[in-house]
């Protein structure tokens, strides 16, 4: 029960002033700019865009600055902003086979057409603190891998086929099917169950990375085991096309950076169908590899029923996963506990006092 409480206005105004002051920190230290956040904290920007479900690096940087680096708070700010904008159109489905690939690795084939490119990865770094980054004003020795004037090698493929397409062509991986239906949109019609795969993928795409990472990890540890292989992870720029109202044809409006993960999982077969590997899919805005991998693991786990598996683990329970993976909703409900619950608590208190009095009476009578 909520009762309007008045009287905190001055305190709230004071708290906001103090918050602004702490956000700025020591005035002797230069203020951080949005460009700096966008360029130098790009993983934070990408995560806020993915979970905020709005691709706009500059606004994500602003949200991070305003939230003092609290990424869940920044997600909240971005989600709130998106509610103020009209939606002009749905894009045509993006084509990740046409990605301008800057990173691409496969854990299942060493030599795949187009090759493997590590790109800008933390993998194989030593995870030792690099004290040279502490040195102020001295630009670190950056070895430029290739000068701007160097041409692309002639053998660099313009397009890289998806590893999963090769497996499907061989018949050893289940093909995806497209019924051509308009996908459900949880921003327009709230989540309900059972949820189809398009709904699940949308919810997972905006889901909290930490929550999905833990769930994905749980499937690896035996809670809904699906024996995953990272079939392919690719990162790069993809063109976005949409159909404007004014034109009789679709046009490209620009490129966005995406990370895609294709998990190849344990096989299935029955009397009619020969055994085939199954798959899980992850897609994230920007460079969101951990998120895309976790999403792919959870997507596969949530296909348990469809693939005739007994769902016994949390990661396989769509209602559990999808109802709790949104950090905006989770944070809101957890943090609402800070709001005044004075009347609820008074009610609990009087019940408890009555119970204690009754208990004391019974104890007295027993003596």
């Amino acid at each position: 029960m909520y009762v309007a409480v008045k009287g905190g206005e001055k305190a709230i105004a004071g708290a906001h002033r103090l918050l602004a002051e702490e956000r700025r920190g020591d005035p002797a230290v230069p203020e951080i700019s949005l460009d700096q956040i966008e360029q130098q904290l790009s993983f934070a920007v990408d995560r806020v865009m993915s979970e905020g479900s709005l691709y706009d690096p500059e606004l994500a940087a602003l949200a991070i600055k305003q939230a003092r680096g609290d990424l869940v708070e920044a997600v909240f700010l971005l989600r709130a902003y998106r509610t103020t904008l009209p939606r002009f159109a749905d894009s045509l489905p993006i084509d990740t086979a046409d990605m301008a690939v800057r990173r691409r690795v496969s854990a299942i084939f060493k030599d795949l057409p187009g090759g493997q490119m590590l790109g800008p990865t933390f993998d194989y770094t030593l995870r030792l603190l690099d004290f040279s980054l502490m040195a102020e004003g001295k630009p670190a020795d950056i070895e430029v891998p290739m000068s701007a004037s160097d041409p692309m090698p002639a053998d660099a493929p313009a397009q890289m086929p998806r590893v999963t397409d090769l497996l499907v062509a061989d018949g050893i991986l289940a093909a995806e099917t497209d019924d051509g239906e308009r996908p459900a949109d949880i921003t327009r019609i709230p989540l309900s169950f059972p949820a189809d795969r398009a709904t699940r993928l949308q919810a997972l795409a905006r889901g909290d990375e930490g929550f999905l990472l833990g769930l994905g990890y749980s499937t690896q540890r035996g809670y809904g085991r699906s024996h995953p292989f990272a079939g392919e992870i690719r990162m790069g720029d993809v063109a976005v096309e949409l159909q404007p109202e004014e034109l009789p044809f679709p046009i490209e409006i620009g490129d966005i950076e995406l990370t895609e993960c294709q998990m190849v999982n344990q096989y299935k077969g029955d009397a009619e169908n020969p055994p085939q590997f199954t798959r899980g899919y992850g897609l994230a805005f920007g460079q969101g590899e951990r998120k895309a991998m976790a999403m792919a693991l959870v997507d596969r786990a949530l296909r348990a029923e469809e693939l005739g598996e007994v769902a016994t683990s949390p990661a396989q329970d769509a209602e559990f996963v999808l109802s709790h993976c949104d950090n905006l909703e989770a944070s809101g409900f957890v943090q609402h506990l800070k709001l005044p619950h004075y009347v609820d608590f008074q009610a609990e208190l009087s019940t408890l006092r009555a119970l204690r009095a009754a208990h004391a009476k019974r104890a007295e009578a027993a003596e």
């Binding site: 749905d90 489905p93 301008a100 497209d178 019924d179 795409a205 004014e246 409006i253």
Partner: protein, 160 residues
């Protein structure tokens, strides 16, 4: 950029809108300048749709090629101009780019000019497309030295 295969009659306009959408503000100003050099000063057409910021829902496909799903939104700016002869100049750009959207809509309309359009499109769009390809190649080239060259160690312990 994607290969455009259809429909043929719209192909040039589709292509230039895709190129203009990725051009910088300075490039668009320069393109407008070049067109004015050819056509003389351009009267500003009327706004059918003033520049406005909104969103597009980006769709992906399950497994990359399966059923579509809604990935998340992106900011988009659009603007439509109507020329005195009825032509529409149209812009849809990724991001929040109000001024650029007016320039793109204007250039789109001017390039549809019956008499000079085709020649203008070549002169205006091709250099922009080349610059775009160069930027893209430069970005991709940086990943080339991270390409993995596998080699297999031959196990040998001296035994035949």
């Amino acid at each position: 950029m994607k290969q455009i295969t259809e429909p043929p009659e719209h192909a040039p306009r589709r292509r230039w809108l895709g190129v203009l959408a990725r051009a910088s503000r300075a490039e668009l100003e320069a393109a407008k300048g070049l067109i004015e050099q050819r056509l003389g000063p351009v009267d500003m057409p009327r706004f059918l749709r003033r520049p406005e910021i909104g969103m597009a829902m980006v769709r992906g496909r399950a497994g990359g090629d399966g059923a579509a799903f809604n990935l998340g939104e992106m900011t988009v700016t659009r603007c439509t101009l109507q020329f005195s002869d009825g032509r529409l100049g149209c812009a849809y750009l990724a991001g929040r780019r109000l001024e650029e959207s007016v320039l793109v809509a204007l250039i789109d309309g001017l390039l549809q000019d019956r008499r000079h359009g085709a020649a203008l499109a070549d002169d205006v769009i091709e250099p922009l497309a080349e610059a775009l390809a160069a930027r893209r190649n430069q970005r991709l080239a940086k990943s080339q030295p991270t390409k993995v060259e596998f080699f297999t160690m031959v196990r040998g312990d001296g035994r035949p």
